[in-house]
Each structure stands twice: as C-alpha cells, then as structure tokens.
C-alpha cells in the first residue's frame, strides 16, 4: 500500500522513461539505489514477466521439486503425478508459513509444519486437520489451495512461470531472440542439468550483473589475470571485431563473438562428423547441423551471450546458465546451472566440469574479478553527488546496421559495442513505466531494423 502509493507519487511514466535516453546512451544512476524503483521492479518486471524456474531434468520424477524465486517471492516448482509442472507460492494459505525449506527434494505432498495442512502437488488443499471437528465442516478447501503462477510453460525443456494472467504465451514472450538463446543450450543435444547449483550473493544491483553479460568490452581488462594464469587465452575467444548482436522483442538480446557469415556458410556445408573433427583444433566447439533449426541462420552464428529478459544469462556457448535474483537494490543472488548432453562421454563431461568450475562461479578464475566492480559501482550510486553522474552507454551508438537474413532473423555484425546494454535499459524503462501487459504491448519499442 504505502510503498506503491509512494512510488506512484514519485515516479510517473515520464520520469521513468527519462531514466535512460536511447538517443545518447545516458543512464540515470538512481536506478541502482532507489528503493521505490526497486519495489516497482518487483511488481512490474518480475511478477509480470516470465521467470526461469528450472530445467525439466531437475524435476524429472513425480514429486520432484525445486525452490526458486519470482523476484523475492519464493516458489515451489514441482512435477505432479500427471507429469505436469506446477509453480506454487511457497506460503501456506492458513497463516503464511513456508511449506518447503529445503532447496530441492521429492515429496508426495506439501505438509505445513505449523498446523499440518496438506497440499497436493498441484497446490490443491487436500488435508486440513480437524476440518470436521474444529472447522465444523464449514471450510471450503477448494478456495484455499496454494497460490499458483498464472501461467507455466516450457520451451526446449526450460520451465518458466509468470504471475500475470495477461502475459503473452511463453513462445511469444521469448520471441525469436529468446528462443534462439535457449536454442543455444539445446543445440548441444539432449541435455541435463548437473547436480549442484552454485549460489552466491554479490553486493550489487541485479541490473549491473545483467548488463555485464552483454559487455565484451570489459573482458580484456577486467579479466587480464585469468589470461595470465594460463587457464585460458582471452584473445582466442574474444574476437573484438567479429561481434554479433541480436536485439529481441520485450528486451531479450544476444551479444558477443559471432562467426562471420562467410565462415558459417562453409560450416553449413559440413557434416556433424566433420564439425566434430574440426572442433578439436578450435577453441570452441562447432554446433551440429540441427542447431540451425533451433537458432536460425543468423542466431547459429552467435558465440555470445543471450539474456532472456530480465535475468537469465546463457553462457559459454550454452554450457551454463546463470540466474540473477534481486535481493533489494543493493544485492543479487547468482545461481549457476551447468548442463551437459545426456550422452556425453565421461571425458567430455570432465572437460565441461573443468571449465564450469574453474571459469565461472564465485571461485572461478574469470568470475572472481567481476563482483567487486559491480559492487563498487552500486555502492557509489548512493553518494548524493555521485548518483547524479549518469553512466554512458554510447559505444557504437548510431554506427551500426541491423541486417535481416532471408528467414527474417535480424542481427548486427559489428565490433565490440554497447548495443545490448542500451536495448536492455530501454526495454527496462518501458516495462517499468507500463501499467499492465496491455500497456506494455502498446507502448514498447520494437527491435530496431535499420540504424542502431
């Protein structure tokens, strides 16, 4: 009540829109520290949008559950005995206690530890101790099932949920760009998520963590020591002058190294066996033929980072995905999921583990260096003078062309740039300013088609 009332007073559509200027790339720093903006993000971005829940392999059996969040609302993602996946708010309808306290598990039903109410795997309230004696049969269990996400759906095995019944379908929400991003994971084959989700907290605003995934500019400098360590050769993976950016509806985007079109044309001619053979001599693995269906003829050229708006990063060619959960304006939880093809031979799996453990995550040779930059940037946003200094996201602005391939997929072939960040913040202002899905649908910008 009070919080959102205040927020409404302080931040009207105009003032929200002015937080980022797409014409100059100037970004208002208060977006990283204002408490009202944060509350509005929870309402208008997280509760409204489609949030990544888990991969189907994590809850393959009836009763398997995985705890996740929609913003700061905790949810249970559970497969019921019909095989359907339900997303339930983890709060008992009686007096609000949490049903599940473990991070994952398997159960027949959800029994509340306070008074023993029992909910089915689909959220239905199936048992109320004393309903006959104490409630005198005057209690309608049907009305008191667990609150369910308004929509749950999956694409390529990745489950998402939204609390907003007016949201478009997952397919439409993802659009071409979001689907391409998830396709990057699926193009590795029939995949499973490995046991062990790394989770850690960084003292930074969630958006700073998110926009960093588009940021290939920081790699050479921030991560110089990862190169010095001998673990990886940064220049082999960076390709600063072969960058491919894809900007998608609703704020999704993909950015990073791209395979030049001519080279891809040659790859397209190769069989999967030839690709596998050639990959042995390259720092990256070439995708199999079927990838093109999943990613499109432009998307398949991307060796970069998709972000499913708002907070799901697909990384290392689809080997890991990283979710960024908001924890107040000044903290973010990072969750790392690692995937392997089901049929990957042990050595391949060993190689994936080696990369995943040693590159990313809080102890990763690369990732170690990111957190403090993000946290220092967030922290300085609180100073009354410092927070008046807008960020600049001007790199490449106005210098690039969007091409549309014969299949209608768009991409920007360029060098290192800040297109992804600009698109992310532009979309963010539109989500935040919109009063409903109808409003968002009507007022959002469409991905650029020409100059960008």
């Amino acid at each position: 009540m009070a919080d959102i009332a205040d927020a409404d007073a302080a931040w009207d559509r105009q003032s929200i829109r002015s937080l980022f200027d797409p014409a100059t790339g100037l970004l208002d720093r208060r977006i990283y520290e204002d408490e009202d903006i944060y509350q509005r993000e929870l309402e208008r971005i997280f509760a409204r949008g489609w949030n990544f829940m888990c991969h189907e392999s994590q809850i393959s059996n009836p009763g398997d559950y995985f705890i996740n969040y929609i913003g700061e609302d905790q949810v249970i993602v559970v497969r019921d005995t019909n095989g359907q996946v339900n997303v339930l708010l983890n709060t008992c309808r009686h007096r609000g206690n949490a049903l599940c306290r473990a991070e994952q598990g398997n159960t027949k039903s959800f029994v509340c530890s306070y008074h023993g109410w029992n909910y089915g795997l689909n959220g239905d309230l199936i048992g109320v101790p004393g309903i006959k004696n104490y409630y005198r049969d005057d209690f309608d269990k049907k009305q008191w099932g667990l609150a369910k996400a308004a929509q749950v759906d999956s694409y390529l095995g990745f489950y998402f949920a939204t609390l907003d019944a007016d949201a478009p379908s997952l397919h439409d929400f993802l659009g071409d760009t979001g689907r391409t991003g998830l396709g990057m994971v699926a193009s590795q084959g029939d995949i499973v998520v490995l046991e062990g989700i790394q989770k850690n907290v960084i003292d930074c605003n969630w958006k700073i963590a998110v926009d960093n995934l588009f940021d290939w500019y920081h790699v050479m400098y921030s991560h110089a020591s990862a190169g010095s360590s001998g673990f990886l050769n940064l220049s082999e993976i960076l390709h600063p002058n072969n960058q491919l950016v894809m900007l998608g509806d609703y704020g999704h985007a993909i950015s990073g190294p791209g395979i030049p079109k001519e080279m891809q044309d040659q790859i397209d001619l190769m069989s999967d066996e030839e690709r596998a053979e050639l990959s042995k001599t390259l720092p990256i693995r070439l995708r199999p033929r079927m990838a093109k269906e999943l990613m499109g003829s432009t998307g398949v050229r991307s060796m970069g980072h998709p972000n499913i708006f708002p907070n799901l990063w697909v990384t290392i060619g689809g080997m890991q995905i990283c979710l960024r959960l908001p924890r107040g304006p000044h903290a973010t939880e990072l969750w790392w999921f690692t995937v392997v093809p089901k049929d990957m031979p042990p050595e391949g799996r060993q190689q994936v583990l080696r990369t995943a453990v040693h590159l990313f995550g809080p102890a990763g040779l690369l990732e170690q260096d990111d957190g403090e930059n993000w946290s220092q940037s967030t922290r300085a946003s609180r100073g009354v003078a410092s927070r008046k200094l807008g960020h600049t996201l001007q790199m490449g602005l106005g210098h690039d062309h969007v091409s549309t391939d014969p299949n209608g997929q768009t991409g920007i072939d360029t060098c290192i740039n800040e297109h992804g960040q600009r698109w992310f913040y532009r979309s963010w202002t539109e989500w935040l300013a919109a009063e409903s899905w109808a409003d968002l649908s009507a007022t959002r910008s469409m991905p650029p088609k020409e100059i960008v």
């Binding site: 994952q104 490995l194 850690n200 960084i202 040693h358």
Partner: protein, 186 residues
C-alpha cells in the same frame, strides 16, 4: 608404525597409543599451522611448495535438504563443486594472484585461517589423514567481511622432515555463499 584405518567422518576406529598419537598430532598441527600462516602471509609460492603433485583440492556444494535427503547434502565427485583443483590449477590460481592484474585481490584481501579441533583419522605408511574445523575470516577494503566455516579432511604425506599436502577436501557449513567471490585459498 603400522597402518591404521578410520572412518572418514567419526571416531578414530583404530587406536594409537596416546603417546604415539600425541606426537603425530603435534606434527600434523605444526604443519597445518605453518601452511595456514603462509596463506595468511600471502606467500603463495612458498605455499605451493607444500603441495604434492597429486593434490586434490575439492570443495563440493552443500545444499539445504530435508533429513530424508541428507545423503544429498553435499554434491559428489563428478558433480558441480566450488573447487575441484589439481596442483596445476592451484598453480594457475597463484599465477593469477601474482599477475599484477587480479583486481579482486588488489588491494589484497586480509585472511586469517583458524584451524582447530585437529584429529588424526588415519595413519597409513607415510600418509596421515587429519580432520579439522576451519574458520576462514577474510576482510577486504575497509568494510567487507566474509566468514567461511566447515570441516576439512587433509592428506599429509611425509617428505623429508616435513609433509606434502596431497588432499584437501573442504566441507563448508554454508549453502548459499554470502560473498562476492571466493578469491581466497582455503
């Protein structure tokens, strides 16, 4: 001294006579304290000299699970983990710290490794398995504080008058890591 077997996580099954055990305990503690001091003094190269070629430096991920799932509390070898390092990887970590561009460690963190409750679990030939409780305190800049606690299983192999460390398995107490990074060696 004969080979002795003990369960990894519990009371020492076999018995050394207390006097013998006391000496081994002292030697192990002496080594572990010196090793910790090298890390806290940021003498990483000297620390590497204590690491055996076949080192396995491993920290699984701990999960909040129910009683009934307690065997799934820690991830297993072959699952994801926070550390799963050979000596080669540890040397890369050290090279990174020495690179002059490891920004997350410049200004360097200040760490303190409290090693307590050391127990000799096993003595087999020239190898000793020791369990201990660790409390790793790290502070950075002027206000950052991180605390990691847990149980450690260390494998020590006699080498000259000292030991080499060939195994360090670290079982954290925390599930969600409330730290920006883990750029500190445990």
């Amino acid at each position: 001294m004969e080979a002795l077997k003990a369960k990894d996580n519990g009371l020492t099954a076999a018995k050394l006579n207390p006097g013998e055990r006391m000496l081994i305990q002292h030697e192990a503690e002496h080594f572990l304290y010196e090793e910790a001091a090298l890390l806290d003094a940021r003498r990483y190269r000297d620390w590497l000299a204590l690491i055996a070629e076949d080192m396995h430096y491993w920290m699984p991920i701990r999960r909040t699970v129910t009683q009934s799932d307690i065997d799934k509390e820690f991830t297993k070898i072959g699952d994801m983990s926070f550390f799963d390092d050979t000596r080669e990887i540890l040397e890369m970590r050290v090279k990174k710290l020495e690179a002059g561009s490891a920004w997350s460690e410049d200004p360097p963190s200040r760490s303190r490794h409290f090693v307590t409750n050391v127990r000799i679990l096993d003595v087999a030939g020239d190898e000793i398995t020791a369990e201990s409780s660790f409390y790793l305190y790290r502070t950075r800049l002027n206000t950052e504080v991180d605390v990691w606690t847990g149980r450690r299983i260390d494998g020590l192999r006699r080498s000259g008058e000292s030991f080499l460390l060939f195994k360090r398995h670290m079982f954290l107490d925390q599930t969600l890591i409330r730290s920006t990074n883990m750029s500190t060696l445990f």
